[in-house]
């Protein structure tokens, strides 16, 4: 984009450089030459004042002469001038200024002298009227010729000017065309850029949407996965619960088995004292080691009969090793600590 702008500026500058600048310098040169020509020709006009007879003409005459002379002068002075231009362009301008002023002053002086001279020469002029009329006719003829010449030159100049103008116009047109072309190109490029931008924007939007869609999909997927995971977890949990239940049942039956074993062993080890009655109950809290050995026993409920309590304690202590399940969980759950109740139901 920035490149385009640069291009535009460069193309914009070049027309100014070439045709316009050229025309300006050309004009300036022409004016310069004209002025120079005017100064150079003025001394040549000195002779005419001698023929004071034609004041009005002289007044008229200086006009065409500068026009005529300069045309020739540039040709002569061309090489010198170019050299001089190079050498003292600055000096020349200043000299010209001085010369102009001097010329003006001289002209004014000359005019005053001429006026006096005119008055004196009036007579002479009238005298010479006839002669002058002849001369005038020749002169007129000459003037007409000159005029025609000037006109031709003028036409030529105009033609050149026209040509120049045409060329300039052409250049302008071309520049404009170029400009338009550039503008069009710029516009095209702009459009293209815009289009590209639009496309990029659309692409970005599409990508954004895609990303969004993907994100949503991912989220959905994640949700689905989460749901399925939750379901799985639930199923697993249920399975575990069922397994735990089964295990518990197994543990219970396992526990019952060992309860029965312990009951049997203790029944064999227990010697209920003679004083025992069916109302007596001794409760002992048993703590076992995982090896089945007795870690501790505590009488938590006395029967009220020392001998009975002692018999129970003795029975509990008499077992070297309690029958306990190998399953550690079952042991921990049921046999790490439990209570034994001694309560005779069938006395001997």
């Amino acid at each position: 984009m920035i490149g385009h702008e640069r291009e535009v500026t460069s193309t914009g500058v070049s027309p100014w450089k070439s045709p316009v600048a050229m025309s300006v310098t050309l004009h300036l040169l022409i004016i310069g030459v004209a002025l120079a020509g005017w100064t150079w020709t003025s001394p040549d006009h000195e002779p005419p004042p001698r023929s004071i007879s034609a004041r009005l003409i002289t007044q008229q005459q200086p006009e065409p002469s500068p026009v005529v002379e300069p045309v020739d002068q540039p040709d002569r002075e061309e090489e010198r001038r170019q050299e001089e231009q190079k050498r003292k362009a600055e000096e020349k301008r200043k000299a010209e200024e001085q010369r102009k002023e001097q010329a003006q002053r001289e002209a004014e002086k000359k005019a005053r002298e001429e006026a006096e001279r005119e008055a004196r020469e009036q007579e002479r002029k009238r005298q010479l009227a006839e002669q002058r009329k002849k001369e005038e006719a020749a002169q007129a003829k000459e003037a007409a010729r000159q005029k025609a010449e000037a006109e031709a030159k003028e036409r030529e100049r105009r033609k050149a000017e026209e040509e120049q103008r045409r060329k300039k116009e052409e250049a302008q047109r071309k520049a404009e065309e170029e400009k338009r072309r550039l503008e069009e190109q710029r516009k095209r490029e702009e459009a293209e850029r815009k289009k590209r931008e639009e496309e990029a924007r659309k692409e970005a939007e599409r990508k954004r949407l895609e990303a969004e869609r993907r994100l949503k999909e991912q989220q959905l997927e994640a949700l689905a996965q989460e749901a399925s995971e939750a379901q799985e977890a639930e199923a697993r949990k249920q399975a575990q619960a069922a397994a735990a239940k089964a295990r518990e049942a197994q543990m219970l039956t396992e526990s019952e088995k060992y309860q029965a074993l312990i009951r049997e062993r203790l029944s064999q080890a227990w010697y209920p004292p003679s004083s025992a009655t069916e109302e007596m109950t001794a409760r002992l809290q048993i703590t076992l080691l995982p090896t089945g050995e007795l870690a501790g026993v505590k009488l938590v409920g006395s029967s009220g009969n020392t001998a009975f309590d002692n018999s129970a304690l003795s029975a509990v202590r008499s077992l070297n090793r309690y029958p306990i399940p190998d399953e550690r969980d079952t042991f921990e759950r049921y046999f790490r600590q439990f209570t034994i109740e001694f309560n005779p139901r069938r006395l001997r």
Partner: protein, 437 residues
Amino acid sequence: MTKRVWTMPLRKLFAVTALFILSVNTVHAELLIRITEGADSAVPIAVVPFSESGAVPPGDKVGDIVHSDLAMSGEFRPLPAEKMLSLPSRREEVFFRDWRLLGQRYVLVGSLTRNGDRVSARYELFDVNTEERLLGETAAAPASNIRSLAHHVSDKVYEAITGVPGAFSTKLAYITLDRFNGKPRYRLQVSDVDGKRARIRLESQEPILSPAWSPDGKKLAYVSFETGKPVIFVHELASGNRSAVADFPGLNSAPAWSNDGRSLLMTLSKDGNAEIYRMNLASRELTKVTNHWAIDTEASWDHTGDGLFFTSDRSGGPQIYHKESERAAPRRITFGSRYNARPRPDNTGDFVYYVHQRNSAFHIARTNLDTGEETILTRTESDESPSVSPNGRMLIYATKQGSDSVLTVISVDGGAAYSLPAAEGDVREPAWGPLVR
């Protein structure tokens, strides 16, 4: 999502609640094992022979006597001394592991010391399993009375383990029959419960029957035919003085002391039919307790001292009846067979023991007075005269061994039998004396 977020804590809450309930449950559901039956066998006990220091009289050894006393009870199974790994006499010498290895439940150790004319025994009883000392005492007795000392130790040991006072220091009274110079010789004898130290209290060529101990253990009442007819005598043991308290026409039999020792129940047929009377010993006043056309006899006070058991054939054959008081209506106790006689209640009021005939054999049986359940306790076939020890744990009765009659002691639940060594001839009519403090 929000639903999940909401349900998760709820689930957790449930889980926590469930856990809490579970834990509460487990706390309450601590395993309980109930032991309602004990070993059928007797308690293994090691009675270590007592060490002796000083001039302890030779002869009977305290350890041996305690050993046999406990064995006789049927509740203990003393370890033979030769199986012991060591013979400790004090705690420091007891290695419980050894006794456990020997399968013993208790171990008794002790020592005897002669002090002048007395012998003192220091003894300790240990629970082999709990390693606790259940008993530790010192007792003394005259040097001539070592058996009494031994029986005392037996009593203490028995009580420490069973919670029931021992009855090894009590006496037995019984009648022996032999022939002397071609004539029958009846002798009333009194001995230790193990039959030792028997002493003859009365000798007669005529039958002597139904000895009965006074509650203080100082007198015996019995029936003697020495006058040619049955007469009830009360015999003071210490002095040997005796007096005929019931010499009525007809039958005078089956004396039984009241708890206060002031009166006797007896069977009299002075009015033609055998009835039970109570006699006030001081006034000799009689009170008729039963009045029935059938025979009522063999009365015995129940444990309350107010009611009585007796035998009556009012149902057609001899059966056991109970009167809650002298005036109460009798209640029949036995129904199991056509013959149930000679009731002897225990001191707890739980059981009544009697002679029970079944299939032409006579056994000793008991009936649970609460349930009415009848249990035959003996396997011998000519059993008679049951008598319950004063602690209610043993029972002595007479039975036939070959042609001779012998006394046998069993535990009241029918455990191991222990036959008393018969001195000579027949031994019958045993009566277990009271606990004397």
